[in-house]
């Protein structure tokens, strides 16, 4: 069953909180992981791994560098779910 953007965003907020200690309410769509949330490349890998567990969507390393904002990840998860 496909999730809504809000459900993905909520799940992503929990992941970012757990991986990087950034409070979930700061994980809003327009935020940049690197510039706004101070998340580095290794934490992005941890977020991708946690996202796979939570959403069942694999985010390979070569896709990670294109996911710059929170909305980018929400879009990626939603589109991957649709095509899956």
């Amino acid at each position: 069953m496909a999730m809504t953007d809000q459900e993905i965003l909520t799940g992503l907020g929990e992941i970012v909180d757990e991986v990087a200690g950034v409070p979930a309410d700061q994980v809003t769509p327009d935020k940049s992981f690197v510039d706004d949330l101070d998340i580095d490349s290794l934490s992005m890998v941890e977020i991708a791994v946690a996202a796979q567990d939570k959403f069942g969507v694999e985010i390979p390393d070569d896709q990670l560098k294109n996911l710059k904002t929170v909305q980018d990840v929400v879009d990626y998860v939603r589109n991957a779910e649709v095509s899956a």
Partner: protein, 321 residues
Amino acid sequence: MRLAEGTAGARILAFGGYQPARVVTNDEIAQTVDTSDEWIRSRVGIAQRRIAAPEETVTDMAVAAGGKALAASGLSPAEIDLVIVATCTAEAPIPNTAASVATRLGIAAPGAFDLNAACAGFCYALAAASDSVRAGTSRHVLVIGAEKLSQWVDWTDRSTCIIFADGAGAAVVGPVTDDEPPGIGPVVWGSDGGMAGKIYIADRQSFIVQEGQAVFRWATTALHPVARQACERAGVDPADLAAFIPHQANLRIIEAIARKIGAPQARVATEIVDSGNTSSASIPLALSAMIERGEVSSGSPVLLLGFGAGVSYAAQVITVP
């Protein structure tokens, strides 16, 4: 055909470690490449590392660590009949490191071979030593992990020169007596050559190359099941582990794996902070330092987990000597 008479189990009699004298701080590296103490500490958890002198060889470091372990074991050199050196930075294709090390330690005519499983090398060598003792092929084995990675690092490449370092660690392995429990558990090992391109040195003129994100993902997702399986095969509950000694690759990898193995009582080795990543030397170096500081007590179970280029990995539970 007759077979050698084996023993019920093997154990580690003693550890020994050697680190080169020269300390290289993050600030020193930041003078030559674009990086900073804060960046290095946050990405890999290293504050400083030890780098060998130009004339100091892998063999020299292996001899220093091996000599310490041998002395601590109380055995005479004549009682060692097999020497295994785990290294991926041997001085030359031939001769191997192990035979030279043995001769310099006064060990006469032992079996002697080098083993390359990169950063997993010590756990592989320990398993080979344990099996050799159990099968009755050897009586006492000197196992050494020794590396001089500094000469395979491009000191202008900030993604690798901050990580790798030099050193050696050693263990003496021997049989248990009849009523003693075994001190080295079954090894769980494996490899995936499909990931060979993620960490490599292309040839003898090249430097080490690593795809950091890919290695990080693999290490933080594939290895905790291996570690847990090693506990299961040894019949040791992870909750009862006194310490967890993973290869000192990156503090964030160490912490991520440690969180996933379910060993709340275990002291987690973090020697990487002051020693850097010394590949096959990191596990025996870390454990010998922890024993010296009294952080793990004799007779307690600890879990070893080696992993690295290949990719290859190995884990086993051992009893602290």
